[in-house]
Structure formats: structure tokens, C-alpha cells
């Protein structure tokens, strides 16, 4: 069924179609309309799920951890400060190997108070052991939630699905809402292999001494690496059933490109338009959209970027004292590969500042003009 809906409602449909059994929710802008819609879907009986209105985001994640530990499919959503408050529990969910799926509607961190889009909130959580997916459209958000459960439940690590605050969360787009039977065939009920069971009692999360803790962490890294393969396979399977695929990265018009722009989220849509304009003038520019940030698709990134002389990374986020976070990862992925690629780092759009086609053009022109980046960070769209 096709419907024109906002991104947050697409998320709610994604959770409902995934037959989430327990939602633990706490409001924060711009995520709130997800949990409002879920409460409507539960109240009307369309969605059969326990819905717990918890007292904080920290508790939302703790509640999901409790329920997932008995083998129930759980969901929550948050943004910015809420995600930061959850930080301890993000480590807990991943360390406990629980396949929780959460949506983070990207919002800038405060202070100063700001509720508009940037990715610093979720990227600050990159070391917690969660898979991270950045979405470009409402359709992609809905589809990615369904995929994320399938991936997470196979590798036993949690997934975080991101969409841009307001730019997607509150923007109407045409979305194809799959029917329940088809989703059920694609995503069967969660059968937990390890769970709290009074007939087979075990202790979960108890202390590991240094003699074994290290190995547990080694296994988590192994599961993350496996996650890359599983995500690719699940995306193919999704395509067979639903006729849509996204890839863990997507290269757009990169054939014989001298310059490749790298970005994520809705900036990718704007960049597509600009790339098309440049291509129509015979200029060889392309784009690499990174959908999966954790595990980082280093091989796929290298494969696409190794053909270009110059790479321009557009980050709507920052790690203070270093720079754009995608840029760091890309430099790291290409290092030691014998490439002579110049990597330009652009930070833009923090706190919801519009990233316009003009900014993307400026990025392309600046990158074309210089053989090497003159600065660690180029701030684009900064008021003079």
C-alpha cells in the first residue's frame, strides 16, 4: 500500500510490520511522533505490542534489555540527549549480545539547545558495539528497520537506524508500506537461543575475569565483521521479496570519476542532484553514499574510492579536536593501500543549517582547484 507519510510514521510502520513485541518509549524531539504513532497503533489494536511509557531514555533501553533477555523483540526510539543518556545501556545491550533495534532521529547535541539535524549524537556512540545504518528517505527508514531485526537476530548485536531530524522525520514522502504477510515471511518470529528460562536457569551478564573477558570482546568483533556479510545478504533477500535494495554503501555515477563525494543521510539526495548537473556538463564526478557506518565497510569504500584521484567527504558531524567523523574513517580505510588519493574533509550543516546544492557545488569547486587539502577541516556554509 502506498501512502504519503512523514519519516517518523514510516519508522512506526517499520516497527509494527516487524511485529515488535515490546516498545519502551520516552519522548524527545524530533523523535516524539514515532512513539506517539506507535501508541496510536497499539491503542487501536493494529499493533500487538506491550507499550511501556518509561521514566527516561536510560530506562527505555534498560527495559528493552530486560525483555530481550527473555527472547522478546523490542524497539525504542530517541534523539540526541536521550541517546547520550542511554550511553551506558548501549554498551550493556551490545555486551549482552541482545538484538534490540532502535531508531535515532539525528539531532544536534546541546548546549546550546538545538533540536535540528546533525549526526554527532549517533556518531558519538560508534564504539558501543551497535550496528549503525544512516537512511536517506522515509522508505529506506522503514525498510531498514525490517532488515535490521533480521541482521541483529542472526549475529546477536543491536542495531541503530538513523534518519535526519525534521528533514526526514517531519517531511512527507511517498512510501510503499509492505503487507504484513510478506514481511512475516521475510522476518520470522525471533527465536532466542540464549534466554532467561526457569526450566534452564543460567546467569546473564555476570562478572568475567580477565582470563575470559578478552575472548568475549574478540567474539563481539567477530560478530561485527560477520554483520557486514549478513547485512549484504539480507539486503539481497529483501530485494528479492520487496524489489528494493540499498547496499551497505551505494556508488552513484562513479564510473571514471576523478572526484568522488562521500556522504550519508539526506545530504546524499542533494548531492545526487548536483552530481547529475555536473555530469550533464561532462564532468566526471560521482558520489559514494555510506549507509552502514558500523561495522565500517572499509573494503567496499576502498573499492569505490580507489578509482578517484580526489575524495571529498561531507560530514554533518564533528569530533572536536579531530574533524568530520566519516572523513576519519575513510582516511583510515584507505591508509596503507598504496593509493595516492587526496582526501578533503568538509564539515557542514551542524545544528540543522541547510546543506544546499550551492554548498555541494562549492565543495566540488574547492576540491577541483586544489591538488591537496590545505586545511584539516574545511568549514562550509560558515557565516563570515
Amino acid at each position: 500500500m502506498e501512502k504519503v507519510i512523514v519519516g517518523n510514521h514510516a519508522v512506526a510502520y517499520g516497527a509494527m510490520l516487524s511485529r515488535v513485541q515490546l516498545v519502551a518509549a520516552y519522548p524527545i524531539s524530533p523523535q516524539t511522533t514515532i512513539i506517539e504513532e506507535l501508541s496510536e497503533l497499539c491503542a487501536s489494536g493494529q499493533m500487538k505490542s506491550e507499550y511501556i511509557k518509561v521514566e527516561s531514555e536510560h530506562s527505555a533501553m534498560a527495559c528493552c534489555i530486560g525483555a530481550a533477555s527473555v527472547g522478546v523483540r523490542t524497539f525504542t526510539a530517541t534523539s540526541a540527549q536521550g541517546l547520550a543518556l542511554m550511553h551506558e545501556e548501549l554498551h550493556w545491550a551490545a555486551g549482552a549480545r541482545l538484538p534490540i533495534v532502535m531508531v535515532d532521529v539525528n539531532r544536534a547535541m546541546s548546549p546550546p539547545w538545538n533540536m535540528w539535524c546533525d549526526q554527532t549524537d549517533s556518531l558519538s556512540q560508534r564504539d558501543t558495539g551497535w550496528l549503525q545504518f544512516y537512511c536517506e528517505s522515509n522508505q529506506e527508514a522503514l525498510d531498514t528497520i525490517i532488515q535490521a531485526y533480521k541482521i541483529s537476530e542472526e549475529i546477536l548485536l543491536p542495531s541503530m537506524v538513523m534518519l535526519d531530524g525534521f528533514i526526514l522525520s517531519h517531511t512527507y514522502e511517498l512510501v510503499d508500506i509492505p503487507n504484513q504477510e510478506t514481511v512475516d515471511r521475510f522476518l520470522p518470529r525471533f527465536q532466542a537461543k540464549y534466554k532467561l528460562d526457569i526450566e534452564d536457569p543460567h546467569s546473564f551478564g555476570g562478572a568475567f575475569l580477565p582470563e575470559i573477558y578478552f575472548e568475549q570482546r574478540y567474539k563481539m568483533q567477530g560478530a561485527m565483521e560477520e554483520g557486514k556479510k549478513v547485512a549484504k545478504r539480507v539486503d539481497e533477500e529483501f530485494n528479492e521479496v520487496f524489489g528494493r535494495k540499498y547496499g551497505i554503501v551505494e556508488d552513484y555515477r562513479c564510473e571514471e570519476a576523478d572526484l568522488i563525494l562521500v556522504t550519508s543521510g539526506t545530504i546524499a539526495s542533494t548531492t545526487r542532484e548536483v552530481i547529475d548537473a555536473y555530469r550533464s556538463q561532462g564532468e566526471n564526478v560521482g558520489m559514494l553514499k555510506i549507509k552502514m557506518f558500523r561495522p565500517f565497510p572499509a573494503d567496499e569504500v576502498e573499492k569505490v574510492l580507489s578509482q578517484a584521484k580526489k575524495v571529498a567527504v561531507i560530514d554533518r558531524n564533528i569530533s572536536y579536536g579531530q574533524g568530520g567523523i566519516f572523513a576519519q574513517e575513510i582516511k583510515s580505510a584507505l591508509f596503507g593501500k598504496g593509493l595516492d588519493t587526496s582526501i578533503f574533509c568538509y564539515v557542514t550543516g551542524l545544528g540543522g543549517r541547510d546543506v544546499t546544492p550551492e554548498i555541494i557545488q562549492d565543495i566540488i569547486e574547492y576540491t577541483k582547484e586544489n591538488d591537496r587539502p590545505l586545511k584539516e577541516i574545511n568549514w562550509m556554509g560558515l557565516n563570515k
Binding site: 511509557k53 530486560g66 530481550a68 527473555v70 528460562d197 526457569i198 555476570g206
Partner: protein
């Protein structure tokens, strides 16, 4: 009337608990009463260790270890999850120390209490952060030494009244209990098990290393705490109906209790007299609550 004590044990022998640990005895009694159909949720506290290091466990029922401030809400998640799976007859026991209850965990407890979620929350109260080495908590009594309230500057705030906080939430059942009165303790846990909604039981569990006393005095001190009326045994139903479960037959001064513990050894006569007066005032307040209701 003597109560039938269930024989089945759910605590293995040979835990790493300190000798005389009141918190271990409390768990033993609680699980004897709750039985096999129980899941225990344990946040950071002494019991994180007593429960055993992987691959060992000291309990015969499933355990979920959780972060410090999450015992109540993680237990709610477990309970709701079991309900979803049709296992509605399983009791979920959140088992936390005083730090995890009075201090860092109180937000989640208040949330679960307000929603009247169907869990049993037991706070085993040893009156300080014992697992990290005897630091003061808001459950530490006035005048007590701890490693963060040294003898020259002992705790200068009274103990938080956690039962009043729970009663103010109007939860179906809250009670105090003592390891020195196991029949009363077990009756209360049975009552908690058979009551729907949020249940809160506050057990005073002496800690010989933290209280600076010989390990064989743990049960005696728990008994003296009740007899001196420092820790009265009472219960509150629906936040309104107060019942005192034991009215001490003879008067025992707080000094009898305090003199056995190194954590109070610096207190002067007039300070102990002040504590005595305060205990009597609190007891009268409690009596008033029972009378005004009945």
C-alpha cells in the same frame, strides 16, 4: 504459631560473600519462599559478586545482571517479556542494595511504582556502598563512620525513609523485614508474591566488615535494630494501611545496638542520647499512622 519453612534451597553453598553477610542470608530466605518460578535481576551491588563469576552461579534460578540504576526497570522488562511469552506465573525479583535503591536507582523505582508494574523489589540494606568499600549512601544512618564520612566528619544527615517514599506512591504493598525474624520476612515475601502490582520489601542486612563488628553478631544486630525500634517491622498496604508487625516487649536502648559496632564508636554520650530521642519520636510517628488508619 510456627510457620512452615520450605526446605528447598535455591542458594548454593560456598559463595564468596563475607562471613556473616546479612545480604546472603536474606537472599536465601527470599528464594526459599519464592521458589523455582523466579527470575532474579541484580544491579551493581555486593550480590554482583556473591552471585558468582562466570561460569559459576550461586543461585539455582536464572539471574539477569543489570546496570547500577536499572534494577526496577530491567525487572519490568523481564516481567513484561515473560507475560508476552505466556509465562505469567513467574515472579520477577529485583534485588538491589541501598545505593542502587535509595540513591542511583530511585528514578526507575519511582517509575515502576507509578505504573504499578508487577515486580517484587527487595532492597537489602547494609547502610553504605559496601561493595566498593564502605562509602556513605543516603541509607547510612546519622553519625555513622564510613570511608567517605571519616571519624572527624561522620555522616551529618539522617537516613532517607524509603518506605515512606514507596507508600507515597500508593503501591499495593511495602514492608520492612529483618534477617533476625525469618518467619516475618518470609510471610512478607509470600504476601508480595501473591499481590499483583509493585511490591517493595526493605530488609536490614548487617554487614560485619562495613559496620565494624564481629561476623557472628550479624543476626544479633539485626534483632537489636528491631528491638531498639531503630528499624521497626511494619507494612503498608496501598500506601494507607499501616501495620506494625512487632512491638518490642522490653525497652532496649539504642546504645545496646550501637556499642557493638565500630562505625559508631566515636559518638559521644549526648549524641547517642539524641539518637535515642529521635528513634522514640519516629516510633511515635509510626504508631500515630497505624492508629489514624485503624
Amino acid at each position: 504459631m510456627k510457620m512452615e519453612i520450605p526446605k528447598e534451597e535455591y542458594l548454593y553453598s560456598g559463595t564468596i560473600a563475607c562471613p556473616g553477610c546479612g545480604g546472603t542470608l536474606a537472599m536465601r530466605y527470599a528464594l526459599q519462599t519464592l521458589g523455582k518460578k523466579t527470575v532474579v535481576v541484580i544491579p551493581a551491588c555486593c550480590w554482583t559478586n556473591i552471585a558468582g563469576f562466570f561460569p559459576s552461579t550461586s543461585l539455582k534460578v536464572p539471574i539477569l545482571h543489570t546496570a547500577f540504576e536499572t534494577a526496577a526497570i530491567a525487572a519490568v522488562g523481564v516481567k513484561k517479556g515473560l507475560d508476552i511469552l505466556g509465562q505469567k506465573d513467574v515472579s520477577v525479583l529485583a534485588w538491589a542494595g541501598d545505593g542502587g535503591t535509595f540513591d542511583i536507582g530511585i528514578q526507575a523505582i519511582s517509575g515502576a511504582a507509578e505504573r504499578n508494574d508487577d515486580i517484587i523489589y527487595i532492597c537489602y540494606d547494609n547502610e553504605a556502598y559496601m561493595n566498593t568499600g564502605i562509602q556513605r549512601s543516603s541509607a547510612t544512618p546519622w553519625g555513622s563512620w564510613t570511608s567517605t564520612t571519616p571519624f572527624d566528619q561522620p555522616k551529618d544527615k539522617p537516613k532517607k525513609n524509603i518506605i515512606e517514599i514507596m507508600a507515597a506512591h500508593r503501591i499495593p504493598y511495602s514492608a520492612t523485614a529483618s534477617i533476625a525474624y525469618p518467619e516475618d520476612l518470609k510471610r512478607k515475601i509470600l504476601k508480595a508474591k501473591s499481590t499483583k502490582g509493585m511490591k517493595f520489601v526493605h530488609i536490614l542486612t548487617p554487614c560485619p566488615p562495613g559496620w565494624r563488628c564481629p561476623s557472628e553478631l550479624a543476626v544479633k544486630l539485626a534483632r537489636l535494630a528491631v528491638q531498639t525500634k531503630i528499624f521497626p517491622l511494619y507494612e503498608v498496604e496501598n500506601g494507607k494501611k499501616y501495620t506494625i508487625n512487632l512491638i518490642p516487649e522490653r525497652k532496649v536502648s539504642v546504645k545496646e545496638y550501637m556499642k557493638l559496632q565500630g562505625r559508631f564508636r566515636h559518638l559521644k554520650e549526648e549524641q547517642i542520647n539524641m539518637i535515642q530521642r529521635n528513634v522514640e519520636m519516629e516510633w511515635r510517628n509510626l504508631l500515630r499512622k497505624t492508629k489514624s488508619i485503624s
